[in-house]
Subunit: 211 residues, 2 copies
């Protein structure tokens, strides 16, 4: 397809598409003339991912570049690790974790049998989140408590990523990353709703959990 | 306690404490002399909440004011709704939801038996998050799919808020709000870890879910 059609299909303006190509986020189109190029559905999928990473995850262009290179990394693909790597580039927190928070993450990964790279974004994010908990809420959390959350996260992941999932092509990798990100605000909003509803039930005057 | 002790205990500087009092986020201390006042543990708990709302949830002062007034609202307390109201002030999204996203939230609340106020922040956040999903991911989600997420959110809420939970005092309300917020980054980091681990297992060369 021509760049105008690519723009129309993805809702990304032509100057922005050209900017992404210059920044190396999007591969160039196949040249079809002196000043023309043709684009494939791979370009469209990649643009959808870039747009979501910007508009929903609010990531800076440089970080988006890291996520995309992780998806394109052949050595990671051979180890079945490209999605893990791409998700790992999404770190949000830059607070330095305390030693106790970092060691709690290591113990948790051990209990869960998770392979967790200490250089990955989710490792750093979890350690930073536990550091904030420690600082703002004293020692009101324990490894056992954290494990209960991890079991629910595992249950979520098993529901979301079916056992027959296979990275058939670049598009399925894109969708794996998109899904992880796009559902985050959904999950947080649902939990707040469930909390609000539960507080309402537990504290209403007539008492009792249900009526 | 004196303001200096309050500052030391909570890690909030004296000028910042005075600013919160001027902005009406924190009640004045009990006057004990011409230019002195004494502060209680209620002030300390409230300051901890304000600090978390600023540093972890990154909320503007005006929104923090809304959260705190919700906790102090006697009519809401009588209906057992102060935590629900306070959580409802935490809306993050300001995107206008599509009609289909809004109606999906209403149908979901109905299926789950949740009391959801359409003016509340979690209602608006969920509708906005579904609008983003619709826009960025086409129609890849259904009410059934959303309900599976809602069941897991419900499971989380039941684990986090024990059935014997009672809003014994202002402090337990504070901790209810703090817990909802402080665990959000923990939950997201755990889910990314679980996703990364699951992708790694499902795509590794030898195949199979586990070995």
């Amino acid at each position: 397809m021509r760049i105008s059609e690519l723009s129309e299909r993805t809702g990304v303006s032509i100057p922005t598409i050209k900017f992404y190509i210059r920044e190396g986020l999007l591969p160039r189109g196949e040249p079809t003339g002196s000043n023309r190029a043709t684009y494939s559905s791979h370009h469209a999928g990649r643009l959808a991912l870039i747009r979501t990473l910007r508009e929903v995850a609010h990531l800076p262009v440089a970080t988006i570049g890291e996520v995309l290179s992780a998806l394109d990394e052949p050595a990671a693909a051979a180890r079945g690790e490209h999605v893990a790597l791409a998700l790992g580039s999404l770190a949000r927190q830059d607070r330095t974790p305390t030693a106790s928070a970092a060691s709690m993450v290591a113990s948790l990964a051990d209990r869960m049998g998770w392979v967790v790279d200490p250089a990955s974004g989710s490792y750093r994010d979890l350690a930073a989140a536990l550091t904030a908990l420690e600082e703002h809420w004293g020692d009101a959390f324990t490894l056992d408590g954290l494990e209960r959350y991890a079991r629910i996260a595992q249950e979520l992941a098993e529901m979301e990523i079916p056992a027959h999932w296979q990275p058939a092509d670049a598009d399925s990798l894109t969708y794996a990353v998109l899904g992880t990100i796009l559902y985050e605000p959904v999950i947080l909003a649902l939990r707040r709703m469930a909390h609000a509803d539960r507080h309402r039930r537990l504290t209403r005057p007539e008492g009792g959990e249900d009526s």
